[in-house]
Symmetry: C2
Subunit: 311 residues, 2 copies
């Protein structure tokens, strides 16, 4: 038997089919068409699964379940409560899907399913508790406790990105100020880089962006920090300090077995991991005790479909 | 059969004996003598339990277990890893106790046991997940998930007071800056009150402290806010805002069924609860969804012995 995992994103929808050993045997994808009616979007997803399965010689009756990861929240009845990128608000995803294909369907947040994927067949495999943090445009997170996703009693938890890290700090798109993702995301690193070159036109950061501050990306700052540009080193060091403090807060509150860092910024590899591993312990209250290991995610962009299939 | 609960504090040690319906049937206490050797301290606790039991006509063989709440951390083998107030560091509490009285002994952090007490027979009874926050000299917390204390994989979690709430903020006794308890505890309210009267000698806060800023207590600020003193209203409003943001961070990350506020400041009752209930939702990311209720603890100073007995 096989399980299907679907990763719904604002630009594309990915489909993966896993065998019983949690191995990805085939994949497919369709572009996201946000202007489509909800029912048509579901129908296109069903169609994509059917084509992907048949392309790999897998019959419909061999698929035992479908899991869906969305950039939003859903309840246990398969209703998508909120998924801003897709324009879905209180839509009955599972029921709509099952009218076209009667198979068990489960839905969860995309960071939660990535956390599950890493904890079952990724870098945190074999652990009973972990917190997965995606450091990308924003900060996403998924909490695994006793081997299961903990998304809260009302299904609104796991939003580390909107834990307040600086009272009265930077305004956030959510309407609050000082949210953690304003200091620890790729977007934050870009903002800090752009601010820093204002007073330092000589910085390598600006040269790498062809002298145009608006073209500074997270990678621009990271690459210049690697080569020792003083402004980039200062900005990146501050970013590492903020992220380390955020991680230490997770340790002080939740103390999982492992903390996994994924998302675009994690591509910096050991240049990200090594300084964090050195610094976060300083902010842990019981820092003379054993504490969570920090690791980089290994499933990358496949984590979404793999984890969804595991739901 | 009966269960014993012990609440170890820096000034006194309380002993309570509970029946099978979790009711407290008798209590005893001894002063804490920190200068005593560890073995003597344990012997005095054993002696106090024996006297308390016999005073209520309870025989030693009728006691099936002993639970201990400490202002520190302990492991599952009954070793106190760290308990600064008592001067205990890696001391074998259970083993020492059981040489004097061979009964099962379990130890946990005092905020964790208070959380357990409230979740079994207090204000959060009947819920499967809750976060208990004590707002006193510092901020303590206990997390209950699926009916059990979650103190982390390494036993160092549940320390909400040292989650960072303001990057580069007020220095904390733990060595970090901007810890949550620097903004949300009674100590924080006192600091804010003392700072505010500096520029406002006309404030009722100062008058209530006989003109001596060093005599301002949390209650001084709260009482003056109640009667409408403008400086006290401003300071207390800021305190409520900080505590509301801290609570919203707990919701965004953990989303328990209920959040319970205890500790000295909770004696302000609805004058504390009402504005928090109104304000915290503003900082919750999915604030158009059902979310945790905020309640005041009801077991008060008995929560420690009741929860310890439940371990």
């Amino acid at each position: 038997m096989y399980r299907v995992g679907i990763d719904v994103g604002g630009t594309g929808i990915k489909v993966g089919i896993l065998n019983e050993a949690h191995q990805l045997v085939t994949e497919g994808s369709i572009p996201t068409v946000i202007s489509d009616a909800f029912e048509s979007q579901v129908a296109r997803i069903v169609q994509c699964i059917r084509e992907t399965a048949s392309g790999a010689g897998i019959g419909e009756h061999e698929i035992e379940s479908v899991g869906v990861g969305i950039p939003g929240i859903a309840n246990d009845e398969g209703v998508v409560i909120k998924c801003t990128n897709m324009g879905w608000n209180h839509v009955p995803f599972s029921a709509t899907f099952r009218r076209l294909w009667d198979v068990p369907v489960r839905i969860d947040n995309d960071a939660n399913v990535a956390a599950l994927a890493e904890s079952v067949s990724g870098v945190s495999a074999g652990t009973s508790s972990s917190v997965f943090i995606t450091v990308g445009t924003g900060i996403g997170s998924g909490i695994i406790i006793n081997g299961k996703i903990w998304k809260g009693f009302h299904g609104i938890g796991g939003e580390l990105g909107h834990v307040i890290l600086k009272l009265d700090g930077e305004p956030c798109s959510c309407g609050n100020r000082g949210c953690l993702e304003r200091y620890c995301s790729a977007t934050a690193l870009i903002r800090m880089g752009r601010e820093a070159v204002h007073g330092h036109p000589e910085s390598g950061i600006l040269a790498s962006a062809s002298g145009d501050a608006s073209r500074i990306e997270a990678r621009t700052v990271i690459d210049n920090a690697r080569t020792g540009d003083p402004i980039a080193v200062e900005v990146y060091g501050r970013f590492i300090s903020y992220l380390s403090q955020a991680i230490a807060s997770v340790v002080n509150l939740l103390d999982p077995e492992v903390i996994v860092i994924g998302g675009g910024v994690s591509k910096a590899g050991s240049f990200l991991l090594d300084p964090i591993r050195e610094e976060y312990k300083r902010y842990v209250i019981f820092n003379d005790q054993p504490m969570p290991e920090i690791k980089l995610a290994i499933l990358g962009s496949k984590a979404g479909i793999i984890g969804a299939a595991m739901l």
